[in-house]
Structures are given as structure tokens and as C-alpha cells.
Amino acid sequence: MARKVSTARKLTFTAIAWVIALLIFFPILWTILTSFKTEAEAVASPPSFVFFDWTLENYAEVQARSDYFKHFSNSVVISLGSTLFGLLIAIPAAWAMAFSPTKKTKDVLMWMLSTKMMPPVGALIPVYLIFRDTGFLDSRSGLVFVLMLINLPIIVWMLYTYFREIPGEILEAARMDGASLAKEITHILAPMAVPGIASTVLLNIILAWNEAFWTLNLTASKAAPLTTFIASYSSPEGLFYAKLSAASTMAIAPVLILGWFSQKQLVRGLTFGAVK
């Protein structure tokens, strides 16, 4: 099947692709490098790339000032919690849409997506007041709930497009054989749906991890995730590039690593039904 490719051609593409990929990745690389410089070196002109005195002092200072692990664990709980909670609610809905579609299915789906287009600021004060009255301010459960709602349309849609690719005939056949609904799900559908669910989970963890409006405005300290951690380094007095870089690296590293390791799973389901 595979065509024979001349080595010269392959080398050319390799070179071009690597240059472009490195350019795209460079801002992240630069941030990581800067986090190991001293503040003075971080603004040195001309900038130095590798030949500087590597130091961990920024990480030590950031950790001393703000408890990274508290913010980190809040981020983990909030992003995982909201994703799983959302999954719980979205699977039945996506299921129904995929296997018992009606004329209105598409409209419902589109309506769900359109709720995502509202600017969240418009609703901040109402939501803040509701949270205050229900005691959800600065609580992880409150954030789990809000982020679940925000990402629910995306979850439903991703699952829907994925479920739709599962041929309905298999279900019919199983039903003919007298399989119960539970069996139908665990034996036939689950294995087929797992890749789709996996990538849905991954995408939503990323979206929830990076959400910076509600997480910033509805928390104070107890439930504050990494987005607030960053907000305390964004423009302090004096030189701050190195500390900002260290804090940034700490905030994005977990998701970056997760994303890289699960790249294949993420990509497989990230098609939103775009591939037939």
C-alpha cells in the first residue's frame, strides 16, 4: 500500500516540519527556560538561550509564597469532578440522541451548543448571588457544578457524534437475541464507546483545567485552583518574568504532560463526527 518515498523528499519534509513545529512550540519552551533564570537574566539583552546559570530559586520562591499543591489539588478535583459528573449526565442524553433520533434532536443539540455562546460576565452577578445564598461560594462542589454545566454541551455533542458511528444494527441484533439493556450496554456498547468517552474526558479535563472566569470569580482561598495561583504573579512590582515563568510552568505542566501522554486517545475521538 504505502508508496515508496525518496529519502530526499522525506528529509525535506522532516526539516520543514521540525522547523515549524519548533516555532509553534517555542513560546512554551521559552517560558520553561526562563523559569530557570534569575530575574536579571530573564530580561538580559541580548537574551541567552541555554548558557545561563540555571537556578531553581524561582520555583522555591513561588512555592514559599503560594501553596502550589493546594491549588493543584483543587484544579485536579474540579476538572476531574466536573468532567465525570458531566459524563454521568451526558451519556444517557447522547445515547438517546444517537439511537432514537427524532426531528428535534438536531435542534436540541444546537440549542445546547448555543448556551455556550453567552458571555459569562453577563451572568456573573446572578450566579454569584445564587452561590452566596446556597453557600457554594469558594467551594469545590460549586465549581464542579458550574464547570460541568459549561462543558455539558460539548460533552453531549462529542459523545453523540461518537455514539452515532456505532451501527444500530448491532443493537437490534443483540435485542433480538434477548439481551437485556444492561448487557447491551456492558457487553456490546461499552467496548465500542470507550475510545470516544476517553477522548471526551480528556478534552473536558483540559477545558475545565484552563477555565479562568468562573474559577477566578467564585473562589477565594479554599477552593482556588491554579488559575488564581497565576493571578498572583501576573504583574507584581519590579522584575517578574522569571517568577511568572516558573508559576506558568507549574500551572500548565500537569495538563501538558497529560495531553502528551494521552495524545492518541485524545485525537481518536476529537473528530466531532468530522470524519466519515
Binding site: 509564597r65 465525570l84 456573573l124 454569584y128 461560594l137 469545590r140 504573579y233 507584581p236
Partner: protein, 447 residues
């Protein structure tokens, strides 16, 4: 897979319990320690305070401190939303001189009556104290206070053959800025704020406009941007910055200019007096031993272009932990705290601008060459009579009405655009006049 859900449920039950039986929960709580949640801004002095809290918790073992340190704009949004909706997320808030009178009037702040016998309220600088008091009661305690002044490079002035007087005029400053500028060596005669924001460029420009005889509103709350005084102010500022300012000035705020000055790229910098301790700190500043100070300039009309500001600690009226909170506020703004910082970090690093005793302290005078100029600047600002012509508001570099944040920032955007060269000075003033009129009409000031 299950852990997060469990977490969530645990949290839920906790909430239910909290709602139904707050008292029971508190009593049966594991630790008896009271936790104070403190919202503060990420400025150097506050970060230092955060590092020194061991001293407080050692003296008050039953009080635990939870810090929420945020960048100024984010902080302001959060504490304002919280206090206005009575969200109750914070026990102590760091707020500015702008907020204190507005919030105190709403009854949102606890009057600080029990700061302790050795607190010595009368030691607070009168100008600072008057800005945060209402009907003779203190509604916040000043953590550090500031005015603005000129910081300049003595070496560059000497090289250019000019001498900075203690109280220069704007014409002198403009002239000196041009002489000191050496763009090929990245030395810019003057660095001024350009980044839009009521607390950024508008703080500087409003204070400057006072010295040009301008005002925000006349006695009937009519905006005054169509008056010649404002045109003079803005014309002067834009022209000066184009000739002798650094590139990208329209996005420079306090922090950006501080970095520029510390790296030796500014001949003069007119900004907060607290910056003096940063620019003279040899650990941070390349030009630490070459900095001189002078009062903010004037045009001979009787007002100088300096502002008055303090970051204060205040206690929201709804807190359950008033007593512990007041203990902390008293600790952080006391003379003893000043001495604590002095013993750990040196006299030059103590939070300035709040107490007379500090300025009488010979050790401080020796360690801080900027002490006298800071004190003179603070004393020369009068928030109750900020302008040449009469005005219906208080506040030197702001107008102490709730609408000002929004209006000030929107006007600041226009002036920032004029500095960036995107629009002309006249267009900026016209836009400022129109939008201020709109907002004041909407808010019901202009009938």
C-alpha cells in the same frame, strides 16, 4: 475514578451541615483555631507581610491566616463583588483610599475602635488618616501610604549639565527630559504612566491636570474635558512622551516603568513615592546609588501634580471574626511591625507613608534618603481641596464616587490611545467628554 465524586459528595454534605447547623459544626470542629482569610494585593510590601506572619501567629496561636494574594485589578473585582453582595468570603480586605469612603458610607466596613492601647492613632499622618476616616472614626488602617514625586538620575543630569531644583516646574522637567534623552543608548528622558486604567495613567494624569488648573467636574457635575486646561495637560503630556519617552509607553504602568528605571533606561520617572525604596535597593536596581528626588512639578498655579494614596486593611461589616481580624489589622499596621521589618530587612524596606514617628526616626532618615521628600509630598496633597477651581468631589487623583472606576478607565483608554498615536489629543478629549457626560447622565448626576 470514584475519588473526585466522593470528594464532591463530602463537600455537599459539609455544605448542608453548614447551612443547618453552623454553630454545632464550629463547636465540634477539629481545631479551635480561627482562620482569617485575608485578601491582599501582590505588591512587594504585602508579600513581605505575608512572609512575616509567623511573628503574628506565634503571638496569637489560636488564629490561622489564609492568604489570597492577587494582582490589583483582579483583587479589586473580587473584594468589591464580595462586599457589595455580602458574600462573606474575606475577613480582611486590602483596599485603597478610593474605596474606603465609599464603602464606609454604605456601612460595609467595621469601624476600627479596638486597635489596642499602644496603637497610637494620633501618630498616623493627618493627610492619610483623613482619607480613611468618616465622622472621626477610622474605617481602615493604613498599611502603606504614598504620594508621587520625581525620581531622577543624578549622573545623567550631571552629564547634561543641569541641576534639579527641589520643586521644579513642568517646563523645566520637559526641557531636562529632552536634554537627557539618548535614544541610541536606550536612555529616555522621562518615563510616565501610559497604560489605561483609573489607577494607572489616570492617576498620573488627573494629578497632573490639577497642577495645570484642570478639574474633572464643575460644581454641577458637568465634565470639563472640553476646557482649555485639559487640552494643555494632554497636549503637554503627549508631546513630552513622544519626544522623550520610551517606546511602548502606552502600555507602561507602574510595574513596567519601575523595571525600566531599575534597568537604567529612564532619566526621570514621576510616580509613587514607594518606588523610591525599590529604585535605591542595590539588589534590584542597577542605578541604586544614582537616584535623586524632587517634588512633583507644577505650573505656578498653586497645586502640584502629586497624588495621595494608601493601601489599607479593612474589615467587612459582616465578618464573624471581627475580634481576631482587628488583632491582625492592628499588628500589621503597628509601630512594632515597622520595627520587625526593620530588624529583618533593614529600615529602607519598612512600609512607608503612614506614621509620623517613622519620619522622626533618625535611623530611617539615614537608611532612606527619600524620606523627607516622601513626607513633604504626602503633606502637600489635599484630597478635600485637590484642584485650583472648586469641585464637588474629594480625591486628588480620583473622584470618590462609585461610578469613577468605570469612567476613569474608559477615559484612560482614550488618553492611552492618544499617547499611542491612534487618535489625536482633540479626538481623545472629545471622546472623554462625551462618554463622561453619558455616564454621568445615566447615573443621574446630570439632570
Amino acid at each position: 475514578m470514584l475519588t473526585p465524586i466522593l470528594f464532591w459528595e463530602e463537600d455537599m454534605t459539609l455544605k448542608t451541615m453548614l447551612l443547618s447547623a453552623v454553630a454545632a459544626l464550629t463547636l465540634s470542629g477539629i481545631a479551635h483555631a480561627e482562620t482569617l482569610t485575608i485578601a491582599t494585593v501582590n505588591n512587594g510590601d504585602m508579600i513581605r507581610m505575608q512572609k512575616l506572619t509567623d511573628d503574628f501567629t506565634a503571638k496569637n496561636p489560636d488564629i490561622k491566616l489564609e492568604w489570597v494574594t492577587l494582582e490589583e485589578n483582579v483583587l479589586r473585582q473580587k473584594v468589591t463583588t464580595d462586599i457589595a453582595t455580602k458574600g462573606g468570603q474575606f475577613d480582611i480586605m486590602t483596599i485603597g483610599t478610593y474605596e474606603v469612603p465609599i464603602w464606609a458610607k454604605q456601612g460595609w466596613l467595621l469601624p476600627l475602635d479596638n486597635l489596642g492601647a499602644d496603637y497610637d492613632v494620633d501618630d498616623l499622618l493627618p493627610a492619610i488618616r483623613s482619607g480613611i476616616s468618616m465622622d472621626g472614626k477610622l474605617y481602615a488602617a493604613p498599611f502603606y501610604g504614598e504620594s508621587s514625586m520625581i525620581m531622577y538620575r543624578k549622573d545623567l543630569f550631571e552629564k547634561a549639565g543641569i541641576t534639579m531644583p527641589d520643586a521644579p516646574t513642568w517646563d523645566f522637567v520637559a526641557d531636562a527630559a529632552k536634554k537627557v534623552t539618548d535614544k541610541s543608548n536606550e536612555v529616555y528622558g522621562i518615563c510616565l504612566r501610559g497604560k489605561a486604567g483609573w489607577g494607572e495613567n489616570m492617576a498620573f494624569l488627573t494629578a497632573t491636570s490639577n497642577s495645570f488648573g484642570a478639574r474633572w467636574f464643575d460644581e454641577k457635575w458637568n465634565p470639563q474635558f472640553d476646557q482649555p486646561e485639559w487640552k494643555n495637560t494632554l497636549d503637554f503630556y503627549v508631546k513630552l512622551m513622544n519626544e522623550a519617552g520610551p517606546p511602548g509607553a502606552s502600555s507602561n504602568g507602574f510595574n513596567e516603568n519601575l523595571a525600566l528605571f531599575q534597568s537604567g533606561k529612564c532619566g526621570m520617572w514621576i510616580d509613587a513615592t514607594v518606588a523610591a525604596s525599590f529604585v535605591t535597593n542595590p539588589k534590584e536596581s542597577k542605578v541604586a546609588d544614582k537616584v535623586g528626588f524632587a517634588l512633583a512639578p507644577d505650573t505656578g498655579l498653586g497645586k502640584r501634580g502629586n497624588w495621595l494614596w494608601a493601601w489599607n486593611l479593612a474589615i467587612p461589616a459582616g465578618t464573624q471574626k471581627a475580634e481576631a481580624a482587628e488583632k491582625f489589622v492592628a499588628w500589621a499596621t503597628s509601630k512594632a511591625y515597622t520595627e520587625l521589618v526593620a530588624s529583618k530587612e533593614g529600615w529602607a524596606n519598612v512600609p512607608p507613608g503612614t506614621r509620623t514617628s517613622l519620619y522622626n526616626n533618625p535611623e530611617y532618615q539615614k537608611a532612606a534618603p527619600f524620606a523627607k521628600m516622601t513626607l513633604d509630598s504626602i503633606n502637600s496633597a489635599d484630597p478635600t481641596k485637590p484642584t485650583v477651581k472648586p469641585v464637588p468631589y474629594v480625591g486628588v487623583q480620583f473622584v470618590a464616587i462609585p461610578e469613577f472606576q468605570g469612567i476613569g478607565t474608559a477615559v484612560g483608554q482614550q488618553f492611552s490611545a492618544a499617547l499611542a498615536g491612534q487618535i489625536s489629543v482633540d479626538q481623545a478629549l472629545k471622546a472623554a467628554q462625551d462618554l463622561t457626560t453619558r455616564e454621568m447622565t445615566k447615573a443621574g448626576y446630570i439632570k
